[in-house]
């Protein structure tokens, strides 16, 4: 199967004052795959995906999604075109019911059978039994799942997960991995992740960011063997 590029970025740049958070990054995302984005703390990962999904405006460079230039589109229109983002710090509607949390993205994608589709979306992550509960009272692991369920309920073409396993128990991580695999290939996944076991297990392609620039990109095996990556991760930080 020939690789189809779903999203590509060219020369993407965002500076905050003197800090070069993202500095001229070129990036290609192949359709139907799981792509991981890794790098040390402060490497610019979250800023980079925020530029992709439109939370932060692009300073220079361009983004193409499904063949169209989306560089200047506001975030909500990018969502309409199929880019979903789940927050690093859980951002659910704590005062609303679990049902309402997921009904919002379901109605956004234009469902005609709102209640049934919402319950189906909750069922997919195993939260159907908690639909009536207030979201803020859920256990932390369940809140993370709800966050992902909201992204999935949009039926996106690209799902961006920002450190989804942070704070999850080991047992919950296995369930999460199965969930991510189950959305492929209809949905392409871009994953920011610190847990290397999860990355190596899930990702087919890995991009490493460091100081706002691409350090390396390739298969898990190639990344593991890359001396520059090893230096950045193991070489004492000042490499």
């Amino acid at each position: 199967m020939a690789a189809v590029t779903l999203l590509s970025a060219r020369g993407l740049t965002r500076h905050f004052g003197g800090l070069r958070a993202v500095d001229g990054v070129d990036f290609d995302l192949e359709s139907g795959r799981i792509h991981a984005l890794i790098g040390p703390n402060g490497a610019g990962k979250t800023t980079f995906v925020s530029l992709l999904c439109g939370r932060i405006p692009v300073q220079s460079g361009s983004i193409t999604f499904a063949g169209q230039d989306i560089t200047r589109l506001p975030a909500h229109e990018r969502v309409a075109r199929g880019i979903a983002y789940t927050f690093q710090i859980t951002s659910i509607y704590a005062n609303l019911s679990v049902f309402d949390n997921v009904a919002l993205p379901v109605q956004r994608r234009g469902s005609r059978t709102l209640a049934a589709d919402t319950m189906a979306a909750l069922d997919r992550v195993g939260l159907a039994g908690l639909a009536g509960q207030t979201a803020g009272t859920l256990a932390y692991g369940h809140q993370r799942l709800l966050e992902i369920a909201m992204g999935l309920a949009l039926s996106p073409r690209l799902l961006i997960l920002d450190e989804p396993t942070q704070g999850l128990a080991l047992s919950e991580i296995d369930g999460f991995k199965a969930l991510v695999r189950s959305v492929i290939p209809e949905t392409t996944v871009l994953l920011i992740e610190h847990n290397m076991d999860v990355v190596m297990d899930l990702a087919e392609t890995i991009t490493v960011l460091n100081f706002g620039q691409t350090l390396a990109s390739g298969s898990p095996a190639a990344i593991r063997a890359n001396p520059a990556v090893q230096a950045a991760y193991l070489g004492g930080g000042h490499a």
Partner: protein, 315 residues
């Protein structure tokens, strides 16, 4: 779940029925009061759509109320419009002014939004004074009894007035109930709760806030228009800051983000002042203390507190 929703519909229909019965049960002294409360409650319901549901704290709603009041009042009194047309004009004026205000004010948020709406309303109030030749400024003008009739109904008659106010109130409340239960209503609440999250679920915050403010303005305009023909007086006081604070007070008292809260707030506040005036003339202090007590001790209002203590189904 559906059963719960039906329960709330029954409650709201019961309130309308009770108000219908009150016309026959209560002494006539209360008829004018309750008619006025119902009209002001429509104003406050509109305010609640913006503030309680969408989280837009406006300090300029008097402008939308006055737009309806003056469009209708000047319409029948000076431009010779038929009452029905003037009423629709008042409704439309409220909505249009709210949308125009929103197009500018919604570019800001939080405290700036409050001040911008306050300033626009103040400019509107001063404009009414400035064109005193037409508006009669602070003194205002009375609408002739002849103009206060609609399709053979004499609106200055106490009983007719009561039922007209009730009709407006009932339509406004049921429409609001439908709105807050609809998917659109869910998006408005979502914006109040977490704007950034809503944006990242693909909802355009500006568009939905403008919609909420526009609907809110329609309510305010309808209340203003009805006020003009039902009570027959139009004056600049209704455009002043007090009339922007009033719906805020009613909503805070009754419960922000509840369908019945604005009516309950208007009812309680009106009779609080009415009863307290038997003991003191310090109306301003009653209003001020009510605001302070609410914001300090009961920020969710009467129905908000009830909703937290078990009546979770309350819309």
């Amino acid at each position: 779940m559906t059963r719960f929703l039906d329960r709330s519909l029954i409650l709201h229909l019961a309130v309308i029925a009770a108000l219908f019965a009150a016309q026959y049960l209560l002494p006539s002294y209360h008829h004018t009061n309750i008619a006025r409360i119902m009209v002001l409650a429509v104003f406050a319901m509109g305010y609640n759509i913006a503030f309680g549901y969408t989280g837009l704290l406006s300090l300029g709603h008097a402008l939308f109320f006055a737009a309806g009041l003056y469009a209708t009042g000047l319409g029948v009194e000076q431009w010779g419009l038929p009452t029905g047309i003037a009423l629709i004009g008042g409704l439309a004026a409220g909505g249009a002014v709210a949308v125009a205000t929103g197009l500018l004010a919604l570019r800001t948020g939080g405290v700036s939004f409050m001040i911008v709406t306050l300033m626009f309303a103040q400019a509107g109030y001063l404009t009414i004074l400035y064109f005193g030749a037409v508006t009669r400024g602070d003194e205002g003008f009375v609408i002739s009894t002849a103009a206060r009739s609609l399709g053979g109904l004499v609106l200055s008659d106490s009983t007719t007035r009561y039922f007209m106010a009730l009709a407006l109130f009932a339509v406004a409340m049921l429409a609001k109930l439908a709105l807050v239960r609809s998917p659109t209503g869910r998006v408005l609440v979502a914006l109040r709760e977490n704007e950034e999250r809503s944006r990242m679920l693909g909802f355009d915050p500006f568009r939905y806030k403008l919609l909420a403010l526009g609907i809110s303005g329609l309510y305010a305009g309808a209340a203003g228009a009805a006020y003009a023909v039902l009570f027959g007086y139009v004056g600049a006081t209704f455009a002043s800051i007090q009339y922007s604070i009033l719906p805020l007070l009613y909503v805070l008292l009754g419960g922000a983000g509840t369908v019945l809260g604005p009516f309950l707030g208007a009812l309680v506040m009106f009779y609080l002042i009415d009863i307290s005036s038997g003991y003191t003339t310090a109306h301003l202090a009653v209003v001020g203390l009510a605001l302070l007590i609410l914001v300090l001790f009961a920020p969710k209002g009467i129905l908000g507190a009830l909703r937290e203590r078990g009546l979770k189904w309350l819309p």
